[in-house]
C-alpha cells in the first residue's frame, strides 16, 4: 500500500513538472502554431537563475526560507524575460516563415545549454534548497519527498491561475479565440500579436518555475535538463491536445503516473518507453489527442 502511495505521489510530482513545461508549450502551439523547441531552454534558464540566486550571488536570496522563495521568484522573472526576448527577437520576425521559425527555436535550444556549459561547466551543480524540502513527509504510511508535494502544489496553483486568466480576463478571451481562429480575431480589431508575447511570457514563467522546482526534484542542475524534459512535455502536449490547458493537465498526470509505475514494476527505463507507446496508441484512436484540435 505505502509503495502505491509513494509511486502515486512521486508520479504526480513528475507529472507536475511536465505540466509546468507543457502548459506554455501547448498554449504557444495552440495560439501561434509555433513548435517552440526552445521551451526546454527557458526551463534551464529558470533553473540556473534560481541556482545562481540561491547560491548567495543575489543579495537577500539564499538556500533557506524566504531567501529561497526570493531565489525562485528571481528565476521565474529571468525566465519570463528570456521568453519575451525569445518571442520578440527570434520568433516574431519569422511568423510568415514557419520552417525557419522551427529551425531558429531549435538553434536556441542548442545554444542555451552550450552557453550554460561554457559558463558553469557540463557537470551537474548541486542545487541549494531549504532543508525542509530535502526531507520526507509521511503520507498514509509512505515517506514521500517533500519537494514532490511542493511541485504538485505549484502545478495545481499554476493550472488554477491559467484557468482564471483564460476564463475570466479579456486577454484570456483573446487567447482562447485566437487558438480557434487567429485571423478572425484581427478582423474584429484586436492586435493578436500582443497576445503572442503575453502567452510566451506566461509559458516562460511556468517553465522557469518548473526549472526552479525541478532543481529541488533532481537535487542538481545541468545544462541538458531542459531538453530531456522537453521531450516528455511534447508527449504531454500531443496527448492532451494542442492549445488545451486542461488537456495538458490530465495528460501530465497520466504520463507521470504511467512512467513512474512502469519504471518501478518493470525494468527501469521501460516507463519512458511505455509513455511513447501510450502516445502512439492514443493517436491511433484519437488523432486530436484527449481534448484538443488536430495538430
Amino acid at each position: 500500500m505505502d509503495t502505491v502511495v509513494l509511486l502515486t505521489l512521486t508520479g504526480l510530482g513528475l507529472g507536475a513538472l511536465y505540466f509546468l513545461v507543457a502548459s506554455g508549450l501547448s498554449l504557444i502551439f495552440g495560439l501561434m502554431d509555433v513548435l517552440n523547441f526552445a521551451h526546454g531552454a527557458l526551463l534551464s534558464v529558470g533553473a540556473y537563475a534560481t541556482w545562481w540566486a540561491a547560491s548567495g550571488h543575489l543579495p537577500g536570496a539564499g538556500s533557506g526560507g524566504l531567501g529561497f522563495v526570493l531565489a525562485v521568484l528571481f528565476g521565474v522573472v529571468v525566465g519570463t524575460l528570456a521568453a519575451i526576448v525569445l518571442e520578440l527577437v527570434v520568433v516574431r520576425p519569422l511568423y510568415t516563415r514557419p520552417r525557419e521559425q522551427v529551425l531558429a527555436t531549435v538553434g536556441v535550444s542548442l545554444a542555451v545549454p552550450a552557453l550554460l556549459s561554457g559558463i558553469w561547466g557540463t557537470d551537474p551543480l548541486t542545487f541549494p534548497g531549504p532543508e525542509a524540502l530535502k526531507s520526507t513527509v509521511g503520507v498514509l504510511g509512505a515517506s514521500v519527498p517533500a519537494n514532490r508535494l511542493v511541485l504538485i502544489a505549484a502545478a495545481v496553483l499554476v493550472w488554477a491561475g491559467l484557468k482564471l486568466f483564460l476564463d475570466r480576463t479579456r486577454h484570456g478571451l483573446v487567447v482562447r479565440a485566437g487558438v480557434e481562429d487567429r485571423a478572425m480575431v484581427t478582423a474584429l480589431g484586436i492586435d493578436v500579436r500582443k497576445a503572442f508575447t503575453l502567452v510566451f511570457a506566461i509559458g516562460g514563467a511556468a517553465a522557469a518555475l518548473g526549472g526552479a522546482l525541478g532543481g529541488l526534484y533532481f537535487g542538481s542542475v545541468d545544462p541538458g535538463q531542459g531538453t530531456s524534459l522537453l521531450i516528455f512535455a511534447f508527449v504531454v502536449v500531443v496527448t492532451g491536445g494542442m492549445g488545451s490547458v486542461t488537456g495538458a493537465a490530465v495528460a501530465s498526470v497520466v504520463i507521470g503516473l504511467v512512467q513512474q509505475f512502469a519504471n518501478y514494476y518493470t525494468t527501469a527505463g521501460l516507463g519512458d518507453l511505455a509513455v511513447v507507446v501510450l502516445l502512439a496508441a492514443l493517436l491511433l484512436v484519437r488523432p486530436r489527442g484527449l481534448t484538443g484540435r488536430l495538430a
Binding site: R176, A177, E180, M184, T186, L188, G189, D191
Partner: protein, 276 residues
Amino acid sequence: MSPGRTARTVPTARPAEGGPLLAVRGLRVLIGGRHILHGVDLDVAAQGVTALLGRNGAGKTTTVRGVLGLVPRTGSVLLDGEETVGLATHTLVRRGIGYAPEDRGVFAGLTVAENLRLAERGDGEPDYALVHELFPELLTRARQAAGTLSGGQQQMVAIGRTLLNGNRLIIADEPTKGLAPKVVTEVTSVLERAAEAVPVLLVEQNLAMVRRLATHCAVLADGRTAHQGPAAALLGDPEATRRLLGVGRAPSPAIPPTTADDAAGAGRSDRTEADL
C-alpha cells in the same frame, strides 16, 4: 468583349454629395504565385447598400479580404480619403469597419456573449441594446456555446458583432449563404435597417435580396471589375443581368425573397440547412 476592358470604360458610380466612403483602385491579390485579383476598382457609396456581385470564383470574397488586409495585396484602398493599404488588419478595422465573413467567423468554443464581447473595442460604449433588440435570441442564448447554434443564429452573432461599435462601414460576405428562407428574410430586414444608418458592402448571390437592398452595385468577373453603377440600372436591364451575372431569366424586381429562388438562385445550391 473581355471583362477586363469593360472595367475602364464603365463610369464609376458616385453618390451625389462627396466621394465614396471606400474607394478601391487597382486592387491586386497574389496567392501562391497566382493572381486572384488583377486590379479591382470598387466604390462603396457613402449611403445605402453597395452590392458586390459576380459568379462563383470571380473574386468577391478575395476582394473583401484584400480590402481588410487579410490577404497580401497591392493597389489603393481609400477609407474616407485615407489610404489603408499598408495598415495592419486590426488597425484598419478599428477605424470603423464591421466585418461578417463568408464562413461567419464565429468562435465555436466560446459563448454567444464572449463572441460579442470580442468585438468590443474599448473606445466608446458598445451598443448591446441595438444588437439585442434586433436579435433577442442572442440575449436568451448568451451563455450557450456558439458552436451549438444553428447556422442562422451564428449569422446573427456575426452580424451582431458588426453592429456593436457604431462602425462607419459594414462588410457582409454572403450573409444568407446556407440559411433557411425564413432566416434569409430576417437577415435581410436587419441589414436593411442597419443600412439606414451605416453604409453596407454586401457580397451576395441571392439576387432577390440584392434587389431589395442594393442602391449601387459592382460586378466582378475573373478578378476584375466588369461593371459598376446604380443598382436599378443593372438589375432593371434583363440583358445586362444575364450577361454579367449569368442569370437565365430576369425576375421582376417585386418578387419577395422566399419565392424568388427559381429565378434568382444562380449559383446557389446550398439552401438546405434547417434553421430555427
